[in-house]
């Protein structure tokens, strides 16, 4: 099995695949007089495409546009400020994924607060937070619950565990995001012209292939569920061009080894038990109805938003164009701050700090020579 998995980064397969994609893309260009354009919905795709060099190799032939799939980047400034303000309270332990630590708030970052003495802990496995709550009964332990469909179920596991162990000093600050509502928003807005989507391989573990039918039925646009390794990315793009050439809209599951038709049903049960849809504010977009998940009212005791109030002012205005980057309207280097006022050591917007943010990916991996 390991040998099979390794093939996805085997240069003997990947290099000719690049040529195959380029050839297909040229065929598209001859037919339509322009490059095919696809949006990679997922931030991890953005990062993988850049890191493996796929984007660089295809840059003249295929227009790959980064989408709204980096959970940190799409979180609006007010929510980020709220999470940072939350950490200011006394007697609290804030637990978070590492991704959040350096995200710029209007005034500071969580890392700044940690340096200033606040108890902020980076966890790899969120369930650890329950243990921390148990070990610190006199403190409030709050987990910053950001994430898309892959990460959200893990938040429900935490609630389940806290419930089972009757832990009263644990809660989650839910700021989750869903893929379908934002894709619908982008398609309804019609700001970007796309020949299809590269759909996120890991989110699709949860959602399943069938969940994307609306793309075809309602919007007549294709989607190819794609993995994250070099060959998977290339083949996903190849399939996307092939579909675009036929003019047919379809969903192709290009990652069937981990993505099923209906998604992981055990995960669905967990999500259905604990969560309910809620409105969420997206950076650069505003509130999209029912675009996130919150804890059901019967689990309010674990809902940090119900238990703590934080006051945040009007977010600081910057020239940061993360909002437009997220919507696929501009590429990072079109922002006047990019690489000058805004770089990984001094990020102005979240897209430059999150490892999978479009700007960070562009800064770290796409600059061939400056």
């Amino acid at each position: 099995m390991l040998e099979i998995l390794k093939q996805s980064s085997n240069p003997e397969i990947c290099k000719p695949l690049v040529e195959a994609v380029i050839e297909k893309a040229k065929e598209f260009q001859q037919k339509f007089g322009r490059r095919p354009a696809f949006m990679e919905v997922c931030g991890s795709h953005t990062m993988s495409l850049a890191r493996t060099g796929v984007k660089q190799c295809l840059k003249d032939e295929v227009n790959l546009i980064s989408g709204p799939g980096c959970p940190v980047c799409v979180t609006d400034q007010r929510s980020i400020d709220a999470m940072i303000a939350l950490a200011e309270g006394e007697n609290r332990i804030i637990c978070t994924f590492g991704d959040m630590m350096r995200v710029p708030g209007s005034n500071k970052t969580l890392l700044d607060s940690k340096i200033a003495g606040k108890d902020i802990r980076v966890l790899y496995s969120p369930v650890e937070a329950i243990k921390i709550a148990e070990e610190n009964p006199d403190k409030e332990v709050i987990f910053l619950g950001v994430g898309f469909e892959t990460t959200i179920p893990i938040l429900t596991l935490m609630v389940g565990e806290a419930e089972k162990r009757s832990i009263g000093n644990f809660s989650i600050w839910m700021t989750t995001k869903l893929v379908e509502p934002v894709l619908r928003y982008l398609l309804d807005a019609g700001e970007v012209n796309l020949d299809g989507f590269l759909l996120p391989g890991h989110v699709s573990i949860v959602l399943g292939e069938n969940s994307y039918k609306y793309l075809v039925d309602e919007y007549h646009i294709s989607g190819v569920i794609t993995g994250f390794e070099t060959a998977e990315l290339l083949f996903g793009i190849y399939k996307s061009i092939e579909l675009a050439l036929t003019g047919q809209a379809a969903i192709i599951n290009n990652h069937p080894s981990i993505v099923t038709k209906t998604g992981n049903q055990v995960i669905h049960q967990w999500m259905d038990k604990y969560l309910t849809e809620c409105d969420e504010a997206w950076r650069g977009i505003g509130v999209i109805p029912n675009s996130g998940l919150d804890l059901k009212p019967e689990y309010s005791q674990f809902n940090a938003k119900k238990r703590f109030t934080v006051e945040v002012g009007e977010p600081r205005k910057t020239k940061c164009r993360c909002g437009e980057v997220i919507r696929g309207l501009i590429s990072p280097n079109e922002c006047s701050l990019f690489g000058k006022a805004c770089h990984p050591m001094n990020p102005v917007g979240p897209c430059m700090v999150s490892a999978e943010g479009s700007c960070a990916a562009y800064y770290q991996y796409m600059r061939e020579s400056f």
Binding site: S9, P11, C14, K15, V18, G43, S44, A50, R51, T52, G53, V54, Q56, C57, C70, P71, V72, F97, G98, D99, M101, R102, L111, V122, L123, Y124, S125, G147, T151, T230, H343, P344, M345, S354, A355, E356, Q364, Y365, M366, R367, E368, S369, F370
Partner: protein, 333 residues
């Protein structure tokens, strides 16, 4: 001897005397150098190299080493990559009240062993004790003195085509120490690469006149050190992703946590830039040593106009590598 260090061990009185006698002199020896407030040493009439480094590490004992071994090897390596032969070392200890004396003994023993192995003599030392909570266990500073040998060293003159060599797998120390903290629940069957490289690098310099520069890629990792060389000497360096040696286990942890091995710390590796026609000779020499058995060429100098580091991906595309920007946190995205 008491079981734990107390503030009295640092006040210069009887307990201090006993600590120094029983723990330090016992291990380091009571050489003639140490009879006075300052050590007197003889250095042949040559240019000397001086370097100082402080060591703070958690955990203090880790797979493949300890803060003691590290404190000697780290400073020895700084001298060795500068082309100097390490001869003397001084050490300063800051110890937290309550630190177990048995641990201190072990640390000091590790220092003595590493010093003996590398041929350096520890000639002066100092200990201070701070209140519980004012330090985390023990911190060590070492200062090293090395001697440049005539007609031997790095030219610091680069040519297009020069080979970039790394003396073995990267990231072993970073991952071994990170996982040894036990916070991540990851077990990795590898040791830190913590080792003194002076004998191996001396052998390289003895036999090759083509060495341009040597550096040890410690904090910030391989990429950060190469960026520094590229910028300092205004050369364009290119390394091939596929040729950079990384252990599978290190790869595995990096995949799980979203780390990049190019930015992980090493404590027993050297980067050597060498003239193209000497590269095989240098590789052969390195491979004769256990610390250099996985030595390999990872790239070349491709230009002298722009100070930058490029990475060629397996697909053949190139991208710029920057210094490590801030601490790496485990991430989900």
């Amino acid at each position: 001897m008491e079981k734990f260090i107390s503030l009295a061990h640092g006040d210069g009185g009887e307990l201090s005397h006993r600590l120094i006698r029983d723990v330090f002199i016992n291990a380091f020896g009571d050489g003639n150098e140490a009879m006075f407030d300052a050590a007197s040493v003889i250095i042949s009439n040559s240019k000397i190299a001086v370097t100082t480094d402080s060591f703070v590490i958690k955990p203090i004992f880790f797979p493949g080493g300890s803060i003691g071994k590290l404190a000697v090897a780290g400073t020895v390596n700084d001298l060795a990559v500068s082309g100097a032969k390490p001869v003397y070392l001084t050490c300063g200890f800051i110890i937290e009240e309550g630190f177990p004396v048995a641990d201190l003994r072990q640390i000091v023993l590790d220092m003595a062993n590493e010093a003996r192995k590398t041929g350096v003599v520890i000639v002066a030392g100092d200990t201070k004790v701070v209140e519980r909570g004012s330090a985390d266990g023990v911190y060590i500073n070492t200062t090293g003195i090395g001697v440049y040998q005539p007609n031997m060293g790095c030219s610091l003159e680069f040519e297009e085509g020069d080979a970039i060599i790394v003396s073995g797998t990267i990231g072993d120390h970073g991952i071994a120490v990170l996982t040894a903290r036990g916070e991540l629940g990851i077990t990795v069957p590898i040791n830190s690469d913590c080792a003194s490289l002076n004998t191996m690098l001396d052998e390289v310099l003895q036999h090759s006149k083509g060495v341009r520069i040597m550096r040890d890629p410690t904090r910030g990792g391989l990429a950060t050190t190469l960026v520094e060389i590229a910028e300092d000497f205004n050369i364009t360096m290119k390394i091939n992703e596929i040729d950079v040696p990384v252990k599978g286990e290190v790869h595995g942890v990096c995949d799980l946590l979203g780390f990049d091995p190019l930015y992980l710390a090493n404590e027993g590796k050297a980067i050597i830039v060498v003239a193209e026609n000497e590269r095989n000779k240098v590789i052969d020499i390195l491979r004769e040593f256990p610390e250099g058995e996985n030595a390999v060429v990872i790239g070349t100098i491709i230009g002298k106009e722009k100070g930058q580091l490029l990475l060629e991906t397996p697909l053949g595309s190139k991208r710029i590598l920057n210094r490590l920007s801030g601490t790496m946190f485990p991430r989900i995205c």
